[in-house]
């Protein structure tokens, strides 16, 4: 029997409710909040972080993590900016390809080390986080990309609109981010590669024994993740124009926060791109709106954000896990899916995350 509502959908739905609640709260507090300008401001911020978070989701689904994305975004933004500044005739598609190419290269390094070198993801990407940034600082030699040096089309890009309704503008970059989220969501659901990500994240050993090409899949997840980070680097350059060597520092934690709030399980195996997009939107909305609430100091942002992440994870583990268990406990023709295996303690070579145990109980208790 096919059920209409799955627990994961409840999750996404509750996030939407939370987002609406926040928007209502802000609109009650901030005069003139519900306007096209607010939408433009938040959506352009979301666009970049969402693209990074989509890549992060691919990796987290396989029970890994990529902490190097911030450095990749910064490196790409700087390198493409310098290339454009020194060669103004460079065609736009070429600049995008260059950005993605740099990302792919970083992803190949990360992926090789994690998938084939069997070095834990957190160690690899903690290392490459430092290494990519070091290379950037070394190459940059204290030179900064300035907006004046960029070609005209690049300066016009962040203001380019796809469609305009009154003062509500949908920027081209926002549309691009939405298209990427949609494409990857479809890929996760319908492509063999997408299903493999879930299978590997749910139970790496079972996936390997079942004959799935686990190494290749994890490798590809990293390549795609950093390719997206490269693309985000291009968008970062377009949005800010001025790029120093510390550009996008800390974006790795922002992307992980978006992914976690979006309901992607840090232990791998569950989550969706739509959830990630809403997570990114929620985080960005709070960050951008809180400053404008009268009487509330902007210094409250981080404290609230931390609390939000904790609530997101806690609600996922405590409430939704019960739902999921109840849902799986009912007999279905195909039996419970692989996800449940995680709770039986059959873990051998898991990530650091899984060492903290499966959420809520497990069959044995």
């Amino acid at each position: 029997m096919r059920r209409l509502v799955r627990p994961d959908q409840i999750r996404v739905f509750s996030l939407v409710v939370l987002l609406v609640a926040f928007v209502l709260f802000f609109s009650a507090q901030i005069p003139g909040y519900l306007s096209g300008r607010t939408f433009v401001r938040i959506s352009t911020g979301v666009a970049i972080i969402a693209v990074v978070a989509v890549g992060q989701t691919l990796v987290v689904l396989t029970r890994n993590i990529d902490l190097s994305v911030g450095s990749v975004v910064g490196f790409t933004a700087w390198a493409v900016g310098m290339a454009l500044a020194s060669n103004k005739e460079m065609a736009a598609p070429l600049a995008v390809l260059l950005a993605i190419g740099i990302g792919v290269l970083s992803g190949v390094v990360n992926g090789l080390l994690v998938a084939y070198g069997r070095v834990p993801a957190i160690i690899v990407t903690l290392g490459t986080l430092a290494i990519y940034r070091t290379i950037l600082v070394g190459v940059a030699n204290a030179k900064t990309v300035t907006i004046d040096a960029l070609p005209e089309w690049m300066k016009a890009l962040p203001r380019a609109n796809l469609l305009t309704m009154g003062d509500l503008e949908v920027r081209a970059m926002v549309a691009l981010a939405v298209v990427i989220v949609a494409l990857f969501q479809l890929g996760l659901v319908y492509l063999r590669f997408g299903r493999r990500l879930y299978a590997i994240g749910s139970n790496p050993d079972a996936a390997r024994i079942a004959g799935l090409p686990a190494q290749r899949t994890v490798f590809l997840a990293y390549v795609l993740c950093d390719a997206l980070a490269g693309l985000a680097g291009f968008m970062f350059l377009a949005r800010f124009g001025t790029i120093t060597v510390v550009a996008a520092q800390g974006m790795e934690l922002q992307s992980v926060a978006a992914v976690v709030v979006g309901g992607v399980n840090m232990l791998g195996g569950s989550g969706s791109m739509v959830g990630t997009l809403i997570g990114a939107t929620l985080v960005e909305t709070i960050q951008q709106s809180l400053i404008r609430v009268p009487g509330l100091s902007e210094f409250w942002i981080d404290a609230l954000l931390g609390l939000l992440i904790l609530l997101a994870v806690a609600s996922d583990a405590i409430i939704l896990n019960r739902l999921r268990k109840a849902w799986l406990a009912r007999p279905t023709p195909s039996g419970p899916d692989g996800r449940d295996d995680r709770d039986t303690g059959a873990r051998v070579s898991d990530s650091a995350l899984s060492a903290s145990g499966a959420p809520a109980g497990g069959k044995s208790s």
Partner: protein, 326 residues
């Protein structure tokens, strides 16, 4: 232990690397091995290495604590905030320590009793505790602490040794004894190896994890206070980003990120290696940023190289077996 085993041990490799680095450094500067330089070496990152000790417990038990740097910053901000509002400094220090206990307990409760992934909980802590620190100090920088407090971080206590260094030595000895010589320490290894086995052996896994996280928060707060004393002024972003350095120190010491294996001797050696390496690179005019990159590469290689050797050994053994079979 057989000599062959000794050669294969991670600690041996660290000692060799350390020796190489020290020899190169001495060749660069004849003053390198002077006592004041060595003390200075420790002084500059003393807070991080103190936290690395307790982080070893956290990682060995199979968890991770990303929030330590935020707790350090929060403790520093609390004393600055309270002192600037007229609280007695000694009381402020006690309150900051209690805040560390509270942060650790908060993390620990969610991880141990809520069974949430430590990475997510302490990421929330990393952002949230830092947020509280920002609420307290906003964008101000607060300094001008009482003289006795500044002296704590800036002047030697016994002979040439500053308080923090003595504290580190005491903590190191305590940590080695606890982790390697007491049942509590053995339990941490068991829990890190296999939580279920630990539970069936009658170990109160949840209580143990809670204790480890509380220890982590408390020591981080202590380190934050020492940092405030050494710097003489505190901002909202004090100690930001320290967590990565601290975790690197522990992992390079051969502690498995999956928990259950590693020794404090290894961590102590890796601390020495990193300190000497950084100092040597500074002598050779290599910037701090490049130093971080080099240590990042070292971290990856420290796991990759043994893995590759293992894979090589396996494939050789396999081909030998295949040859024998034919």
């Amino acid at each position: 232990m057989t000599p062959q085993n000794l050669l294969r041990r991670w600690e041996t490799l660290l000692v060799v690397l350390l020796a190489v680095v020290v020899v190169i450094n001495v060749a660069q500067s004849p003053f390198y091995l002077r006592l004041d330089n060595i003390i200075n070496l420790f002084q500059l990152s003393i807070e991080k290495i103190i936290v690395a000790l307790v982080m070893t417990f956290v990682i060995t038990s199979g968890e991770i604590d990303l929030s330590v740097s935020a707790v350090m910053g929060l403790a520093a901000c609390i004393i600055a905030f309270l002192y600037s509002h007229g609280t007695n400094m000694a009381i402020a220090v006690v309150i900051a320590l209690l805040a560390g206990v509270a942060c650790g307990a908060f993390n620990g409760l969610w991880v141990a009793y809520g069974r949430l992934p430590a990475l997510a909980v302490t990421l929330a802590g990393l952002i949230g505790y830092r947020g509280i620190a920002r609420i307290l100090l906003e964008d101000k920088s607060i300094g001008q602490f009482p003289d006795w407090f500044n002296a704590l971080g800036q002047q030697p206590l016994v002979g040439p040794l500053p308080v923090a260094l003595i504290l580190f030595a005491i903590l190191l000895i305590c940590a080695i004894v606890i982790l390697q010589r007491t049942p509590f320490g053995r339990y941490i290894y068991v829990i890190g190896n296999n939580r279920e086995v630990a539970r069936y052996s009658g170990i109160d896994v949840r209580r143990m994890k809670l204790i480890v996280f509380i220890a982590s928060g408390t020591v981080a707060a202590l380190a934050g206070i020492l940092l405030a004393a050494r710097l003489g002024a505190v901002r909202g972003n004090t100690a930001e980003g320290f967590e990565l350095d601290i975790i690197t120190m522990v992992l390079l010491g051969g502690v498995s990120i999956f928990g259950g294996s590693g020794t404090l001797v290894g961590v102590a050696l890796s601390i020495l290696l990193i300190l000497n390496l950084r100092n040597g690179m500074s002598l050779a005019d290599i910037t701090g940023n490049t130093q971080t990159g080099v240590i990042g590469a070292l971290l990856i290689l420290s796991v990759l190289v043994p893995n590759l050797f293992g894979a090589f050994r396996d494939s050789r053994a396999k081909s030998r077996r295949a040859a024998r079979a034919t």
